[in-house]
């Protein structure tokens, strides 16, 4: 009995989808717009994540040591820093390496190079470059260094300067921007999602409104709620699946076309290769959203006409 009913409901759903050709086409197109938004939301999420990661990686602080600092003491400081949970990476740049880098940077500026030569000795101190796990944690790293954790064996501080205090304003601002971009992106995503779901819902509601007389007749010949509702839900699911697959197809040329643009705009992010790499995941999100929106819209929209 259950299987007979299910079979009839599914068959009727397919029949109705096919017979209401124009209505089905219109609904699928509207649903495609919705699913396109869902797809773009998952892309923009990835773009935002990657941009933020990129920005975060750009933030660091440099600790410059006095020229007289012993390498052993510096390595002790490095070790202490590495044991902090806030710190993700510490790179040591020795005095010689700092000098080579400096010369390279100013290779075209003859006056600086000759001034260096005149000096005779290396004026640059060794540097520890520190990357924190999160921009907000640089303050505590800087405090850690200030708080007497970077002393030589004789108890004199070996830190020349910490550029955190010079960059503090910029770092704070960036931290702030990152946090609000995260929030804004989230709010925008929710907003777009709600709007597009409402559009799809209203379209399906319209298709059911067209069939309201039929629904009341079905009621009057004694058809049960599930038996009337079922085919409409099946049609909603077919809308979702069809629109889902068409959207996935359409995203191929679209992301391909956008690929080089995104690559130059967001460093190293090619939307097309991202799409191909995450295809299964995105396909699942889009098709499942379509099925869910289609089925729930039908269920909700038809309830009103089942009262007879």
């Amino acid at each position: 009995m259950f299987w007979m009913k299910l079979k009839r409901i599914i068959r009727t759903g397919f029949f109705n989808f096919w017979r209401d050709g124009t209505v089905s086409l219109a609904s699928v197109l509207v649903m495609m717009v919705t699913l396109m938004v869902v797809g773009l939301i998952s892309f923009s999420g990835a773009i935002l994540d990657i941009t933020l990661l990129e920005l975060r990686n750009k933030i660091d602080i440099n600790v410059t040591f006095v020229t007289s600092a012993k390498e052993e003491d510096i390595l002790n400081v490095r070790h202490a820093l590495e044991s902090l949970t806030e710190v993700s990476l510490v790179t040591y740049v020795s005095r010689d390496e700092a000098l080579t880098a400096f010369k390279e940077r100013h290779s075209s500026d003859q006056s600086i190079l000759s001034a260096l030569d005149e000096l005779g000795e290396n004026p640059l101190g060794a540097v520890l470059n520190i990357k924190a796990r999160d921009p907000s944690q640089y303050a505590s790293v800087a405090e850690f260094l200030e708080g007497g954790n970077a002393l030589s064996s004789d108890g004199i501080t070996i830190v020349d300067r910490i550029n955190y205090f010079e960059n503090k304003a910029a770092i704070d601002k960036l931290t702030h921007i990152i946090a609000s971009a995260d929030r804004m992106g989230f709010a925008l995503t929710i907003f777009l999602a709600i709007i597009s779901v409402l559009i799809a819902f209203n379209t399906i509601r319209l298709t059911i409104y067209i069939a309201r007389d039929e629904i009341s007749v079905m009621r009057l010949v004694g058809a049960s709620t599930t038996y009337i509702q079922g085919p409409f839900v099946v049609v909603g699911i077919i809308y979702g699946i069809t629109a889902g697959f068409l959207t996935l197809l359409l995203l191929l040329p679209l992301t391909y076309w956008l690929g080089s643009t995104t690559e130059s705009f967001f460093i190293g992010f090619n939307i097309f290769s991202y799409y191909l790499r995450h295809f299964l995941e995105i396909a699942l999100i889009i098709v499942a959203s379509g099925v869910f929106i289609g089925a729930i819209s039908s269920l909700l929209a038809i309830r009103k006409y089942l009262k007879v």
Binding site: M4, V221, G222
Partner: protein
């Protein structure tokens, strides 16, 4: 008190539509099993309203309708579905399902009643033969004439072998030959033990039936003749 012999009772039923037009006032009469009852009255008298109240499409403003001693309007959703499957209704405006073929329209009613595919495949052509519509079995309602639609509606009402057939103006769109045929079908079904409630304007039908006639005017029962004629 309700007698056991009675099948359907309208007990002081009134209906006032939301726009405060009074369609029925204190209508009281009862119908016995296997009876063939005609309800007559001028246009707007309240005949269709009476049938809508019986099928639960509209609720009475006052009064109670009993079917086999059960108040129809006290049934829950599931019970009312079962009740409607025991009643075959021919609507004045046909109310066929526009996106289904003649075959599917009739099959739908059988599916709704939980009949098997085998029963549907054998009964649908059979009932269409009875109303002489076999050639139109795969047509959609929009491709049929008014009279043909009416016959589909009749076939749909018959196919589940209901206990009661309600026919609201089933001959309104038919020529005299077809009208005669429809009346013969209803008579035959009545002879096989089905209760028939028929509304009509057609004097000829009433006279030829020579059965019970309930006349309604402006929402009131003005006459109830056991073997009535249609008087204006």
């Amino acid at each position: 008190m309700i007698e056991l012999k009675v099948m359907i009772v309208f007990d002081r039923v009134s209906k006032v539509y939301p726009d405060s037009s009074v369609a029925l006032e204190e209508v009281t009469f009862s119908i016995e099993p296997k009876e063939f009852i005609s309800i007559v009255g001028p246009s707007g008298a309240g005949k269709t309203t009476l049938l809508k109240l019986f099928l639960g499409e509209e609720k009475p403003t006052r009064g109670v309708i009993y079917y086999e001693s059960v108040n129809v309007h006290a049934l829950d959703k599931k019970e009312i579905n079962e009740f409607r499957r025991r009643v075959g209704m021919v609507f004045q405006d046909f109310r066929l399902l526009p996106n289904k073929t003649v075959y599917e329209n009739i099959a739908f009613t059988m599916e709704a009643a939980g009949r098997t595919d085998e029963e549907i495949e054998s009964d649908v052509p059979h009932v269409l033969e009875l109303v002489d519509l076999t050639p139109k079995i795969w047509n959609f309602p929009r491709e049929l004439s008014g009279g043909e639609k009416q016959r589909v509606a009749i076939a749909r009402a018959l196919v589940n072998e209901p206990e009661v057939i309600i026919a609201d103006e089933p001959t309104g769109n038919l020529d005299p030959v077809n009208t005669y045929d429809v009346v013969q079908i209803l008579k035959k079904i009545n002879n096989l033990g089905t209760t028939v409630i028929l509304t009509t304007h057609n004097k000829g039908i009433i006279d030829s039936l020579n059965g019970r006639v309930v006349a309604i005017e402006q929402g009131r029962v003005v006459r109830d003749d056991k073997a009535g004629k249609y008087f204006k």
